[in-house]
Assembly symmetry: D2
Homo-oligomer: 463 residues x 4
């Protein structure tokens, strides 16, 4: 299927102090599967050495019993990976595990280091060798070069060099360390299972493994978990935080709570606000399932227009298909979504989706609804137009491919053949989260890291 | 996961007269994947001979490009299979392909032959050999023994010997034949793609391949598709028809139209009727997704209680998981469903599901909702209590395992720990389909075939 | 690699009365792997029912521990299969297992039924259905139609209808039955492991599983093995026996004893006789390894010419290879054989192989030896020219592809570019086995079955 | 199977300047498969970047067409790997590919660095990170730290730090570099295919790909292959060379020429010398195939005792097998070797093998021959007793496990139950190669590197 979504680049998890650590991390990664579906890995410490197992594909397909059994020990960290096209290789799969002067260390990373090229060049000139292209290897090199006497100081010193988005979990033979960048772009949650501690990207992972929510790791916080307990450090200067608002719009699961808010509630508020800002006279409102469902419920609630499941999402989505020789209209979208004719036919319909990237999918959906007999199709988007790429760990097309970057809303409406089209306003969106310090650069171009030092905007990505 | 649902035993499809026949059947089977997930097969005719490819697992995993390329020809039939526990073997996978006195013939079957044992014993005594335990092999044997001079007469004569449920598609080198038993238990739809003809279990399969709906094959009808066109026969005595009402309740996809009704509309009507019959004072109504969604929308509409997605269904359901050593509460259900705490906490909740089989899943769901903070949990089921096994192509537990067969509704309520429990009444259900001739034996014990000749009820299944 | 050998079509094995039966059959099949490398299967009886597992590929790759564990029971039979090009399918893989009027029966077959088409047509007209194209299914049908009251009579009656080559092992829930056709084309050996009985194609399979040789099943003998012991029947009229002499020349392993002779000794006698009939003045004699080794030792012994390993056979032969874009001379042969230049260069060489089929391989070998510096290359073949196809269970090319059928020896010599070429004479060969009743039809055209009833020669195969 | 052999640790190959480079390297690795069977990898340069593909298992199983097609470019290097028990992981599989200050570089290594631990510790203290435990990563780090301005100087400087055995092939985007340690422990051959250059461990790899032998890389030589041609450097001080004599005894293929000698001729000379030193009155002499074959031919030639193939080596050796519950005598050896009873029975036999490691295999062979009826069994070994471990790239057991290290020859004879036992003498062996400067440390304890600086003997391996 053509890539027509922003993509989260990772989900991460760690367990400290449970003899079933690798198994729990595996289940946490399953609950975080939506954050990365191309590969996964788990590293484990048995207090004597570290072992790692990785693979390409879905968590449940990679980790068979025999592989999990090899991962014995009571500390484990893991990673789900989204890979950019073409490089579906084990090479960049995490966790990275390395031996350095301070011992063995494993690392998983959710986010993106904006100054990776600068750091990498500097390290290479200084004699470092790189066997992958992952940001994580840079972090390990910074630690190895830090001249610090212990892991904690080495990490503190190294992460101060990083610009960009990074939620990290480190593991040594006896320690697990969680850390969020000072802007707090990506979430990281602390939980507990009996006497063991857990770190996960979203609370839905805690739910699956019966973990209890303790609190979020704070932006800029570094938390060290050992047999002695938990200690916090703040290695960074304090700055205004900028959590990624797109996590609420699309990436996170609706049953998660992140950035101290319930995704479901925020997503519903977006829908209500969208109804308030852009009402329409219609018979029914339907979601583009599943990501559009919760905002649609909000839209229906505020507008009073009845909610229906006018598009059915296939349960077996996600595999590659062999298209027949004769062309099938809207094939890519049809493999995923099918209209319910009896619901659609003869109706004036509002259809709600979370975002439009290239516009090709929306166009197919609108056409499919019209072919199913819709009298009018009004597209409503529960976020503002996405005009700018993200440099903070989300895989986005270049600016020229973002339809909202090069077209007016009216032009987009024409292209997708809708009777009307409206986006949630930036102000409306920020209202819903009651905080304007969230990152919203992909809508506004206001890159938090660019503001600070003029270095955040990566021109190479624009080619 | 423990088996706690009735299971459809098959989905079938056929295409006549398209050089891409096997590829179209493959896509149709993908759209019918919910009717059988353990194996699939496609047979193809290139007008000189028949070829078949089968495998275990999901359609998209079995049929890679190289395999589809081997299936050249312009006629193809296919089958999705549900297998009863333990016998996950290729042996019984369909299509069955055999050489008989009238040439080569392939066959797929959706349903269950009630007098299979009798026929099989008779055939074996008469010198037949059986290499599988499938009903289809019986049908082929009856054809081979029929002494008829052509395939059509051989089929007509053979199917007259069958009692029970059977939607069949036959293929020879130059012909495709569709057939439904006189009671019409299982659906079978006729469609068209350009100049080729298509047979499928549900209309959702037509939608995916851009097929146009023509009409349903009628109960007792046999339709012969050749290069000359389409001809109909009625090899059976006319009887009152008994389509399976459970197709509406659960098996069919909500975006399908079968038995000349829209599944979505019927399912929603069930929900409305349920609200009418068993109202409750509550804050929200939530579905057990996905099968409970549409009835819940009906319940919400009639009752005015706001609809919420209080349980989130994991997108990666369906794989086997390695449970951790330490036990996780409600593990089986949690892999599939997770409550949204902000929606649930402090609320009086109506939760709507399509049916209760053993009760174990419902119990876990109620407990999970209470642990998420629900003040009250009222379970509403959009069908009557399932008290009897099905002998018409649905895999059901024995009577003793059906909780409604051995317990009163109050006892079930207690077991599942709900604050209240109500089922849709038999009359209410039949009202919604405006026809009391539908089969409802699993609720009422009124087996259509038993009525006719006292032979429908298979005591062996009760062990 | 191009097919340039006659190919044995099967190896078979059975064990009665050992709780490890399937495991022993698996090892026996491994020892018989040279008789069929495309697929294998094992059926097992636990005294209540039969179970079968099959696969494509080598025995050691198909039967993993988990699969062998499913084959519990103390009776097992198995089969290695050679498949003719294109039809690499599980469908025809043996054992065939079927339910008939006399119960469940499994069957493995080594050989070829000459009148298979006649029998199949007759059975099909009589209402039989065929789901494979294997001869074994014919035999099961004959049994099912036999009207006999017990398995033994059913087998006796059925096999009397067969013409051609058949070494068979049947298994029921409580019995194992071995049988050889009256001509005795293919071997079948009876052995013992402690208190259990074993049937195998060659004695090398007994050696691997520590089995003791008892005796050969005689041509025309049917041996019934039950808990009560062993009984013999002779269901056929007595005829002159015709064991396949090619088993000695090439098919059987040199460490086996079959037809009451040691393969090694016969093969060496062929070599000595070849030296006697066709001497040559040369510096060294080398084999085409491994099949040519033993005859070469005989040639060296008689002639006094020193034996050397002038060609080294690669240990990893048997996998498919990706040829490079630029052509490599003699690529197919080079993947298997490499000349030792220091042995070859400047020498007059006799090179001994077992047979020549198309001549393409021999031509490459001779050229390769010349390029390695050989002064003269004299090819000696330890069997007569193969001019006729085999209809008794060996896969041979058609007559027009057999170089000796269409060319004189001098023409062949020119084609393969040898300095001289000689074959063993028919008389010389028969001298070595001290019996002229052996089948030698592929050399002489004297088909044993043709002699008897004019029905043995299958003109269809000549197309 | 129990490990009862010394094992070569690698085979390496490289091609410069052929658009089919990866395919040729793949075939070269197939020809070198006997030097490492646990994993393989190929790296390729398309003059813009390096790409690598690796896998576990045999070359022909890892490199399917689709994988080879990804390796486009005209420079490629590859590696076959032997892995020590337990660590069957991709992590240490070569080629290693890394980005350093001088660009991208790939490396394959045959041998063992004696001072690896020292160098690794030094590098780690200096801030290096290690993601594998392979020696190659050390070499890359040394290059990265070398402060040299070009790859050639970086390599020269780095390899001067290495002690031990190393035949290396480096690749950059535009260059291929071959290098042998100054002692010349492991072979490395230079060849040509049309206008491209080739480096391989043994000449048999040249033969398969139609390559022409040019010459050996000399001990201590570094050869740089670019589009401009070939240049040689000698970065090391000149020392007396010590090629590994065990390559002749066992590791190399008999059809190879290495160290400017033909393996076949040397191996045959060992056999003749053994016959001269340790004659015996016997009826036949047989090899332990295949490694014992050529020496046996020498023994037979000198002694006049007739050569026979009394043991047959199974063609399908090398897979894991499921042993039956009941024990089978000599199971491990029987899966590989089977005696020919007609050859053995009643005879006085000399059996020749290349070496004895633990003695367990020899014991099983002698017993098997006696059970096959041998009157006397005289074991002759075509090398001296192996008493010391190797530190130069051969996987050997510790001293305590080497039977010759802890037992007298008479004790060994008793243990293996032979009627007599004799080894080739050290002097006799060295006579055959006409040079006493070969390494023979595993026989004599005279470690070349120990002689030089007292650092060669690695006490850790002795645990
Ligand atoms: N069961 C669910 N109900 C509603 N939203 C879900 C559910 N599961 C996941 N999601 C959300 O939907 C997103 C992806 O779903 P979907 O719309 O089906 O695919 P797409 O990525 O093509 O938009 C996830 O990132 C998550 O936020
Ligand atoms: N996207 C969908 N929305 C609503 N119902 C669906 C959808 N897809 C399938 N169904 C229906 O739901 C049934 C199965 O879904 P689900 O409830 O998730 O699983 P379970 O079989 O465990 O109840 C299908 O048989 C079908 O009727
Ligand atoms: N170890 C062996 N030594 C000698 N002959 C063997 C050995 N193993 C098998 N054989 C014989 O060699 C035949 C096949 O070997 P080979 O010549 O290598 O292959 P090809 O089938 O291409 O001729 C077998 O059918 C068997 O008779
Ligand atoms: N065809 C051959 N004939 C003789 N020797 C061979 C042949 N192929 C490989 N070799 C040599 O035999 C060695 C391994 O063969 P073998 O004795 O069969 O196994 P093992 O490693 O158990 O001794 C190789 O390392 C090589 O030197
Ligand atoms: S640019 Fe957009 S997607 Fe990226 S972090 Fe900011 S809000 Fe999130
Ligand atoms: S018994 Fe129930 S499931 Fe079976 S056909 Fe009748 S209504 Fe359908
Ligand atoms: S024709 Fe040849 S191969 Fe066939 S059985 Fe007779 S001797 Fe054997
Ligand atoms: S110690 Fe032995 S095996 Fe090692 S290099 Fe020296 S001779 Fe070769
Ligand atoms: Mg979506
Ligand atoms: Mg459900
Ligand atoms: Mg051969
Ligand atoms: Mg050996």
């Amino acid at each position: 299927m053509v890539f027509d979504k922003f993509h989260e680049e990772c989900g991460i998890a760690g367990v400290f102090g449970d003899k079933d650590a690798a198994n729990l991390v595996y289940l946490a990664l399953y609950a975080l599967q939506h954050r990365g579906q191309e590969g996964a890995g788990i590293a484990c410490s048995d207090r004597r050495s570290l072992r790692v197992e990785k693979g390409l594909g879905l968590v449940a397909d990679i980790f068979k019993r025999s592989i999990l059994e090899r991962l014995s020990g009571d500390i484990a960290i893991g990673h789900n990976r989204y890979s950019t096209a073409g490089e579906n290789h084990l090479k960049n799969t995490q966790p990275i595990v390395a031996d350095i002067n301070l011992g063995s260390v494993a690392l998983v990373h959710n986010g993106n280091i904006v100054n990776a090229d600068v750091l990498r060049n500097e390290l290479v000139s200084d004699g470092a060798i790189f066997t992958s292209t992952s940001d994580s290897e840079i972090i390990i090199h910074l630690m190895a070069k830090s001249n610090e006497k212990n892991i904690i100081d080495a990490i503190s010193k190294s992460v101060q060099r990083l610009k960009g988005a990074f939620s990290l979990i480190f593991m040594t033979e006896n320690m697990m360390i969680g850390l969020r960048d000072p802007f707090g772009f990506r979430p990281l949650i602390l939980g507990r299972i009996r006497s063991s501690h857990v770190l996960v990207s979203e609370t839905c992972a805690l739910d699956l493994i019966d973990g209890e929510f303790i609190r979020e790791i704070e932006p800029g916080e570094m938390i060290i978990i050992t047999d002695e307990g938990i200690v916090s450090y703040y290695p960074f200067e304090k700055v205004e935080i900028h959590p990624c608002i797109f996590e609420f719009i699309y990436f996170a699961r609706p049953d998660s709570r992140i950035f101290n808010r319930d995704v479901y509630e925020i997503r519903k508020a977006f829908g209500r606000k969208l109804a308030e800002e852009s009402p329409v006279d219609a018979d029914i409102v339907i979601p583009v399932p599943d990501s559009g469902i919760v905002a649609t419920l909000g839209y229906s609630e505020y507008s009073g227009i009845p909610y229906e499941m006018g598009l059915i999402r296939n349960h077996y989505v996600g595999r590659t298909f062999i298209e027949p020789a004769q062309s099938i209209r809207h094939f890519g979208v049809k493999l995923k979504l099918n209209p319910v004719k009896s619901v659609i036919a003869g109706k004036r319909i509002v259809v709600v989706d979370d975002s439009i990237v290239r516009g090709t999918t929306s166009r197919k959906i609108v056409k499919m609804l019209k072919e199913a007999g819709a009298k009018e199709v009004h597209m409503r988007i529960s976020s503002p137009p996405t005009k700018f790429p993200c440099f903070y760990g989300i895989d986005t097309p270049t600016r020229s491919e973002l339809i909202a970057s090069t077209h007016t809303i009216e032009e987009i409406r024409k292209y997708i053949t809708a009777d009307s089209l409206a986006y949630l306003s930036l102000e409306g969106m920020l209202d819903c989260v009651e905080n304007s310090s969230f990152c919203h650069a992909c809508f506004s171009g206001a890159y938090p890291t660019l503001h600070k030092d003029g270095n955040g905007y990566n021109p190479k990505s624009e080619v």
